[in-house]
Amino acid sequence: MKPRGPFADPEHIDLPELERSLRNPRTFLDLLLSTLTGLLTLGALFPLFSVLYLLIVRGGRLLSLSLFTSLPPAAMVAGGGFGNALIGTLLVVAIATAISVPFGIMAAVYTAEIGPETRTTRIVLFAAKILTGLPSILAGVFAYAAVVVVTGGFSAPAGGVALALLMLPTILLTAEDAIKSVPAKMREAAIGMGATPTQVICRILLPTALPGMLTGVMLAVARAAGETAPLLFTALFSDYWISRTNPLFLPKSVSDLMQPTPSLAVLIFNFSSSPFDNQIELAWAAALVLVGLVLVVNLLGRALSRRAIRA
């Protein structure tokens, strides 16, 4: 076969053919595909900016202080807000955090430090990976069966258990990574000073791994705050304040706590299918507050992890 192309004749190199020209089908295809991926990437970002734009335009219109201090409105009644839902979201997420953080971090201490190569660790990490893929609605089904049926009613702790189930794997796996990335020198120095394993963990490993663990906790909190499905039939919803005696604040007694508890996410879900304009507008305003909350916590968590890497 005769060689072709710019080097076919060694005496004479065809320089124009070596130049990058779009008339060459290979170069053209290259540019075409580059443009296509660029456009697809831009296209994928369209939803994010469209969501943020609409939230600011439609939700921002209604934004005022009274939103945070009043109760959800009835149909066609102007005004109203979602103060109870905001407090409810914070309460349920706080319960979930209080359950999942100590649980997840202690389990991570075991898998990362006390018995890293054991069979227990392999099984625990496998279980955590399974939990990562658990559909959020099934966390709700579990909390319904384990808490709502047992305590006899929808309540904030039931919602908290459901959310804790979703937060646990994130917290466990990030805390494990963070503890494992503490330099071995520090651990060895502490052991050399005669520290017990517990002292090494509590005085050296956990403080050093704190930024990384906090990132995991904040990402988990951000995710949990936006979850709707697990709350639909655990915390349910309520049009009233959580504390009957003191409108703006937290539950004052166990009976306050064991009531159906409103949340921003469920409020958006309920109002989105409402035929009444005022409720739909309120859903947009609630979505703006919820997304703002979630994005701030999420970005703070990411900033922490960047600082942790630099340190």
């Binding site: 295809l29 970002l45 075991y110 936006g226 989105s272 919820l290 979630v294």
Partner: protein, 350 residues
């Protein structure tokens, strides 16, 4: 400095060492702490067992009563105690696969775009063209811009699904309606366009689902593409391949197992997604090929019927939850196994 004798800054050697053996109290605390950690580690395993056990146990009476007919019947009527979830299984698979297909196209494109440094080289080209490339102020800009893009893609996953549902109702449905009408009137003889879009339906639900699985697919695919050893790319370029010839013929095939793993994990997410689908799919007990017809999914069935269900219906819902649990567990385990194989496969190429 010179006036001070060197030895005086050091403490005189004493008989008491700085380090001490742990006291009996320290040892007791240590033992307690370690056992606590051990117990809570097993607690995580127990939680998984509890979830499966609790749902399975509550579903048991319904399994005895309805048997496998539950999977093949098409009616959900608590009044007649007749329960079947075939339409839900159909709707779950249809929306998931359609959403996954769209999400994969975008997700893999983003993964390639990010891992091959297209944006960084574009920013670099602009800097060179404007003569700013040598300024230290701009030296980090290409890398920074790429980091911002990556974070932005990941933020897609941070938006709560209920907000996507709201957005879908007021943006996606009006946006696809004219297209849907055109396809229905002109190509209505095709089974996929055989019904008109009445509002909520499979297509808007799948599009929103695509957005929700896209960050999973792009993040894991990007990891797989970045893990391809540079010498493979260099060899391809050295043989005269263009950038895209190298990507299509060498880099993507080398990362294919990882990309598959990401798609399967995205499938797992799509199957379990609840609220956005409950808001956008229309919740109708229908089995239809048409992408404009409303449908129902397993997760949406649970979300819609659970809050007001009586004891008989709760049993049937628990059975449906068990089916959903089984499907998602299976899909997620397959995805994780594929990703493990991808890691092992690339080790041979290093």
């Amino acid at each position: 400095m010179g006036d001070v004798p060197l030895g005086s800054t050091l403490a005189a050697p004493s008989d008491e060492p700085i380090s001490q053996p742990p006291s009996a109290y320290d040892i007791a605390v240590d033992r307690l702490f370690r056992n606590l950690a051990f117990g809570l580690a097993w607690g995580a395993v127990l939680v998984v067992a509890l979830v499966v056990g609790e749902i399975g146990q509550k579903a048991l009476p319904a399994i005895h009563e309805y048997g496998t007919q539950f999977l093949t019947q098409t009616v959900w009527d608590p009044n007649r105690k007749s329960f079947g979830i075939l339409p839900q299984i159909w709707g779950t698979l249809y929306t998931s696969i359609l959403g996954l297909t769209v999400g994969t196209v975008f997700g893999v494109a983003i993964a390639i775009f990010l891992s091959e440094g297209f944006l960084a080289s574009a920013v670099d080209a602009v800097l060179r063209a404007t003569g700013q490339a040598d300024r230290p102020f701009f030296s980090q800009l290409p890398v920074r811009v790429e980091g911002v893009l990556q974070t932005t893609v990941e933020l897609l996953a941070a938006i709560p699904s209920v907000v996507y549902g709201l957005w879908g109702i007021f943006v996606v449905i009006p946006l696809v309606r004219p297209w849907a009408d055109w396809f229905h009137t002109h190509l209505g003889w095709l089974p996929w366009f055989s019904t008109a879009l009445s509002g909520p339906g499979i297509l808007p639900a799948s599009l929103v689902l695509a957005i929700m699985v896209l960050p999973t697919i792009s993040a894991i695919s990007r990891d797989a593409l970045v893990a391809v050893p540079p010498r493979l790319r260099e060899a391809a370029l050295g043989l005269g391949a263009t950038r895209w010839e190298a990507i299509i013929a060498v880099i993507v095939p080398a990362a294919a197992t990882g990309i598959w793993g990401s798609v399967i994990l995205g499938f797992g997410r799509a199957l379990g997604e609840t609220v956005a689908l409950a808001m956008l799919a229309g919740n109708a007990n229908v089995i239809s090929w048409s992408v404009f017809s409303p449908c129902s999914t397993l997760a949406a069935l649970l979300a819609n019927n659970f809050p007001e269900a009586g004891p008989v219906e709760v049993g049937a819902l628990m059975y449906a939850a068990l089916i959903l649990l089984a499907i998602t567990l299976l899909v997620n385990m397959v995805g994780a196994a594929i990703l493990r194989r991808a890691d092992a496969g690339l080790k041979g190429l290093q």
